[in-house]
Structures are given as structure tokens and as C-alpha cells.
Symmetry: C2
Subunit: 211 residues, 2 copies
């Protein structure tokens, strides 16, 4: 019917030149950070990050989400408590490979970043709008890159249960929490990462020529 | 229990200074493009875009997706045919506000970009890995920004039905198509957009102080 083309396999990134080097460096530098400094974050920085989120494309241009920024210490404490309870249960029922991965990263059900980071951005989807989940995640991606550019660390944290946020944050019927994004100065230094495309790229058919 | 803080409301972006202006400009410039030039795209550009996708954070660092790049003209034609059939049905059953929005954007079930764009990147989730859908969308967000930086246009296109891709692209049991991203030079010029945060940002509780 149609024939998969055979393609030369470029082995690595050609030496980049021009403005895109900066963007790729930003993407490489941005790491998931679980330790935060309590150093205050200027509100202008936070606002620029949230605005970046709304610049992301969304289903039918509806921006089907709201951002609830939590900076109240008592509320952060409550959120941490609930998340840790949910994650303790999750760590016990997680598959073995996942428990191994969590251990290798020293990830435990303790979530100090939920009280240490100056801001928690709770991204809440509006479930009565189309493509709300996809749109929320694309907007999160824009925000975490903007945060990196602001010199701030983030984590795309999805606790095993988020229903408790409904009451705590006064959410409406059509609201579904998607993720909690701590935003603050990093309390740990992680090395930049590299692109890893092995096994990920195929031409014209899965199992066909790889890049 | 806890009290919502009252915050001053910054009315607009403080005049940005430094490197982040470039990132925000990129995010503002990047528009969803539905008309493509058939001008060839250097494969190095495509590869850098795909590599950018793999730099995105993903659930348990599993990168739970593959990218199937379609550049075979006959295959693109088949995909277009199937998508247009699915979208014709969808346009008929879409709610009134959505049909109105589609009309205002002159979006019809005709999808010429599926044959005009030199590349279609079909992003396929691996459903047996955790957070596959969220991870796939975050990786798509990285790719569309990388494409913009490469001077290329994209669209996050989700046809109303994608099951036909299973056979056409030789997908496996654990594969679920998430979106089709045309990549090419823009065949239309769209103005940059602005951040729109009205009604989107709240502090400590939904309905509380807005930014």
C-alpha cells in the first residue's frame, strides 16, 4: 500500500547555532526539584510564570483551567499532610519497578517541598470544557520552562489523591485538580540532562526506521 | 482554620528585563497554524524538535511515548482522509458554542495541513506506563516551542477519532495515539498573542483574591 522510507540516521544533534541553543539549554537545565529554599520569591516572577501558562495553546482557545496559588503557611501544612497520607498508601501498592525507581531517587512519602516552597501552584482543570486535561498539562509545561528562565525551580507533582483539595481550596463542581507545582529557589543543585531519543523515534510506522 | 491572605493585585507584567524576555516572546509568537508551505524542512531541525520533546519531565522518568514521524505522501493522504471523515461527524455533533467557535476560526473538517506539512509527528502514548497522557502532552509542549524556535509552525491536532492510526502505523497493544503535530513552514502569518489571566488566578482559594 505504502512503503516505509528508509532514512539516514543522524547520530546526534548537529552543532546548534543561533537563538535555539538558548531554548535547548533551558530545557536541559530544567530539572524536577524536590528540595526548596525558603527564600522569598518576588511576586512579579510568579505572575510572569502564571501568565506564561496562559500563553499555551488550549482546546478551542478556552484555557480550561484555573491556577490557585497557595502561600498561606497553614494551608500548605494541611496540603502536605493530606498528600503524605495519600502517598504513603501509594508507595505501598506501587509496582516493584516503581518502588525501586522511587528508592533510587530517594523519593519517599515525605513531601517537605509542599511546606518549604514559597508558592504552590495548584492547577485545576475545568472539566466541562473540551481537552481540559491536555490543555492543563501543556500550560504546566509552559510554566515550568518560564520558572526555569526566572531562575526558579519546580516539580510537576501529582499526589496519589487530590480530592481533598476540593474542600480545602473551595473548588467548584466542574473543577478537577491536575497537579501541584511548587515554585521556589532550588535547595539542591542538579546537573543538566541530555536528550535521550533511543527507541523513541520511528519513521512512517512503529518498528520502522529509527532516527 | 486558615485565612485567605489579601494580596496587592499587580495589574500587568512588570517591564521584563534579561533573558526571560526571549522565552516569553517565543511563547507569544507561537501560534496554532493550519496552513503550511510545502517547503522542505531540514531533517536536523526536525530531530532537534523531537529531542526537545524527550527533554520534558515525565512520570517516573519513563518517557512513556514514541514519536512516529510521517513523511510518506501516500500515508499522509490516508491519514488526512480518515481524519476528515472523523471530523465531519464531529462537527455535526459538537455543541453549538463550539460550532460557532470553529466557524469564527474558519475551521472546517477539511484538514489540508495533514498533506501539506512536510512532517506529521504522531505522538503515541505507552499506556502501560504511569502518567503517560500527562507526560505525552508535556513533551508536546516542549516540541511546539522548539519548533517555533526553529522557525517552524505546528498545530496540536487531535482528530475526533484516532483508532485508525493503530493499523496504519503498526502500533502495539500498549500504544494510544495522543495527537498529530504537523511540522513545517507556516503558510499563513498570525499575530503574536498576549497573556490573558483574567479570572484564571486565585490566591489560597478559588473565588479568593485574584491576581
Amino acid at each position: 500500500m505504502w512503503t516505509a522510507h528508509l532514512h539516514p540516521r543522524p547520530t546526534a544533534l548537529s552543532a546548534p547555532a543561533g537563538g535555539f541553543e538558548m531554548l535547548y539549554d533551558l530545557m536541559k537545565r530544567r530539572r524536577s526539584v524536590r528540595k526548596y529554599s525558603s527564600k522569598a520569591v518576588p511576586r512579579e516572577k510568579l505572575l510572569r510564570i502564571l501568565q506564561a501558562g496562559t500563553l499555551a495553546p488550549s482546546g478551542a482557545d478556552q484555557r480550561p483551567y484555573v491556577y490557585v496559588v497557595v502561600d498561606n503557611p497553614e494551608l500548605k501544612r494541611r496540603i502536605r499532610e493530606e498528600c503524605e497520607a495519600a502517598d504513603r498508601a501509594y508507595h505501598q501498592r506501587a509496582p516493584r519497578w516503581m518502588r525501586k525507581w522511587l528508592a533510587s531517587k530517594e523519593i519517599t512519602p515525605e513531601k517537605p517541598f509542599l511546606t518549604e516552597a514559597p508558592y504552590l501552584v495548584v492547577v485545576v482543570g475545568e472539566t466541562d470544557k473540551p481537552y481540559w486535561l491536555a490543555s492543563a498539562w501543556v500550560s504546566i509545561a509552559y510554566m515550568i520552562l518560564a520558572a526555569e528562565e526566572e531562575g526558579l525551580a519546580t516539580l510537576t507533582y501529582t499526589p496519589a489523591k487530590m480530592s481533598f483539595l476540593r474542600e480545602l481550596l473551595n473548588l467548584a463542581e466542574n473543577h478537577q485538580p491536575v497537579a501541584i507545582i511548587p515554585v521556589g529557589y532550588a535547595g539542591e543543585k542538579l546537573p543538566a540532562k541530555e536528550a535521550r531519543i533511543e527507541g523513541k523515534i520511528f519513521y512512517n510506522r512503529f518498528g520502522g526506521a529509527e532516527a
